[in-house]
Amino acid sequence: MGAYCPCGTRNFNYKKDMAIVRTPFHWAALVILLLLLFLFPTFFGGVLVNLVNEIAIITLAVMGLNILTGLCGQISLGQSAFMCVGAYTTGILAATYNIHFLVALPCGALGAGIIGLVFGLPSVKIKGFYIAMATLAAQFIIPALIATPLEFITNGSNSLRIPSPELGGIVFNSPQSMFYIIIPITVIMVFFAENLTRTGIGRAFVAIRDDDLAADVMGIDIFRYKLLAFFVCAVYAGMAGGLWAYWLRSINPDHFHLHESIKFLGMLVVGGMGSIPGAVFGVSFLLFMDYFVREFGMQMSTFFPMWAPAFQQASVPLLYGLVIVLFLIFEPRGLAHRWTVLKSSYRLRPFSY
């Protein structure tokens, strides 16, 4: 009955009150969604599957940023640099040392996490705008370090080639097969992020974001938890980087530019800061938009050849900027807020209050 009359749903114990999946209808929806996701590559072509792969990878990076910036309130402009660390750690382990991807990926994530910790250290003294500047340092230092001084292992700007991952005789070398590596990891890590958010650590992060003095007086070791946020954030970025390396099979320091970091922040704003579904929505929305606008630009440039460069090159950044500004003005809480409104109106159905 829960599906038809959701407003009658009651929670009779705290376990149920805290659960994400509460009614049989929820369970059915979850199972169907996972099944559809599993069958997705058999129905759709390489282009769309590749797009979904990219969305999943970027979702991980933005999820990390969501934990650090959205929950803990520390603005970071270095997310793509942490992704770079993860990509190169995984890439070097896989390409040079021939290590299995199931080992190389966690190593990349952990490596990025440790670098994230180091760049989180300034947060002991500085906060707000200034911590953003400190993470900007990471963004400048890391890709530059990888491009030149570490050229002997990273191959510098000549790109590092990475072999396709392999498991039990299956070689994952097509978008469709990579889907089955990328999506499970993303689903599990998003689930972890949700769990982190709703338990003690997530509350400590939000406490630090909302009022760090009160959090201190209420027994939260602020510095430790800020560092933990930096660590978790960079682990997510590192995992995203590792997957990115296996997905593209060729990485270059230029992939991890400052403007990627800023784009991640933009995705977070569009999706809704501090919300786990928000991060997924923001990335999906902007990358789908990106894709369709580019397609549209291609189509239009065949009709209007004299404006071809304008359509092909300028339309995406222009629309990006427009969307972010419109969201900031009309829905600063992002798509996630729309989602909550939708959910609560469904929950109250058939009554309007």
Binding site: Y14, K15, M18, F192, N195, L196, R198, T199, G200, I201, G202, R203, A204, V206, A207, R209, D210, D211, L213, A214, A215, D216, V217, M218, G219, I220, D221, I222, L228, V232, G274
Partner: protein
């Protein structure tokens, strides 16, 4: 209520919690905020600190909390020196407080605000938090039960899942008190809990404060401007003026103390 009763029994066995402030002096540059301040608080009493604006009442609480480091003197809680410790360590010893301007976590719900204050008892672990099912969830449920008892005690059931940022002033004050209680304090510091409230809300708050004191048997320090409340519910009153202790005693003694009258009403001549 259960846990309050349990605590009451537990506390009968434990010795009285005791805060001693000895010769404390706090200066901001050339300004002396507190000078040669000594008092002790214990025996599960409700102690009020009163005084005109700028007398150093809140500075005094901030010193106990570890926000400010007094330049001289010693603060000790249960014979352990606490000045010099960071605020979160002092909280772990069981000193909890409310704030004059209610520094709540406005993005969290009432339940989560209280759960966040359980932090020192919950001690979340990264791996257990991520995996959630099993150990992590059981711990959450255990602490949720304690938090629900506090919600029950402070009559906050209707606002349980509301985001604190959307609550009206009076209810926020209550959440602030609930958060301080959720820490399971051995000493409770209340910074102007009645400020800006109407008569009914003040009566509720006074009732809560007396109940907390009686059920949990913990000393409470109250900074308050409302003399009616102070004289009615407090066991002891400390009067400050320009950072100096003017008088200390029972409400009856304070009422007739000529120094206190001079502080509040000015000299006769």
């Amino acid at each position: 209520m259960n846990d309050l009763v349990k605590n009451k029994e537990k506390d009968k066995l434990a010795k009285d919690d005791r805060l001693e402030v000895n010769n404390m002096e706090l200066r901001f540059g050339g300004v002396t905020a507190l000078s040669r301040l000594s008092y002790d608080i214990g025996q599960s009493q409700i102690t009020a600190i009163i005084g005109p604006n700028g007398a150093g009442k809140t500075s005094n609480l901030n010193c106990i909390n570890g926000f400010y480091q007094p330049q001289r003197g010693e603060i000790s809680f249960n014979d352990k020196k606490i000045n010099g410790l960071p605020p979160y360590k002092i909280a772990q010893l069981g000193i909890s407080r409310t704030f004059q301007n209610m520094q709540l976590y406005t993005g969290l719900s009432t339940v989560d605000n209280l759960m966040a204050a359980r932090h020192i008892h919950l001690r979340p672990k990264l791996l257990a938090s991520c995996l959630y099912y099993g150990w992590g969830r059981n711990k959450e449920i255990k602490h949720r039960e304690i938090v629900e008892e506090i919600i029950d005690f402070l009559e906050m059931e209707p606002i349980r899942h509301k985001i604190v940022g959307s609550l009206p002033y009076g209810e926020r004050k209550r959440v602030d008190l609930g958060r301080a209680l959720a820490l399971e304090p051995r000493l409770l510091l209340l910074d102007e809990p009645m400020a800006g409230m109407n008569v009914e809300e003040k009566e509720d708050m006074a009732r809560f404060i007396i109940d907390i004191n009686e059920l949990r048997k913990i000393p409470i320090v109250l900074v308050e401007h409302d003399m009616g409340v102070v004289m009615d519910i407090c066991d002891k009153v400390i009067v400050l003026d320009f950072g100096v202790k003017v008088a200390e005693g029972s409400p009856e003694e304070i009422k007739t103390n000529p120094d206190v009258i001079r502080v509040y009403l000015g000299d006769e001549g």
